[in-house]
Symmetry: C2
């Protein structure tokens, strides 16, 4: 699963730590997701999308196409 978090986050000029705080998760979690270490939970995916003013369907590109 690929995602567009980093670009959008940098567009909004907020740090991984700030996004983590907005989503109420640790900074390591955001970092791991941006670097494709693992996928976020569905709830966290919604939180990230919301805080980056977009939708899950736009932010994430599932394996196997959608």
């Amino acid at each position: 699963m690929h995602n567009h978090i980093r670009v959008l986050r940098e567009d909004k000029k907020i740090s991984q730590g700030k996004l983590a705080e907005l989503c109420r998760v640790s900074r390591q979690t955001i970092n791991a997701i941006e670097n494709n270490k693992y996928d976020p939970s569905l709830q966290l995916a919604f939180d990230i999308a919301k805080n980056l003013d977009t939708t899950i369907d736009w932010l994430f590109l599932p394996k196997g196409g959608n």
Copy 2:
């Protein structure tokens, strides 16, 4: 997290077992998700949405609004 899986699945007249097979997970997984025992992984959420011809953002209603 609430979801509209059951209605959509019944609209398409497929069983939990059939949807499970299409999504390549066990029937118990689909059953647990329909009955809000836990949320699917992000990848599985995409697979379910795809097989029900809809989007994650339409299918799932995250806790805390979106």
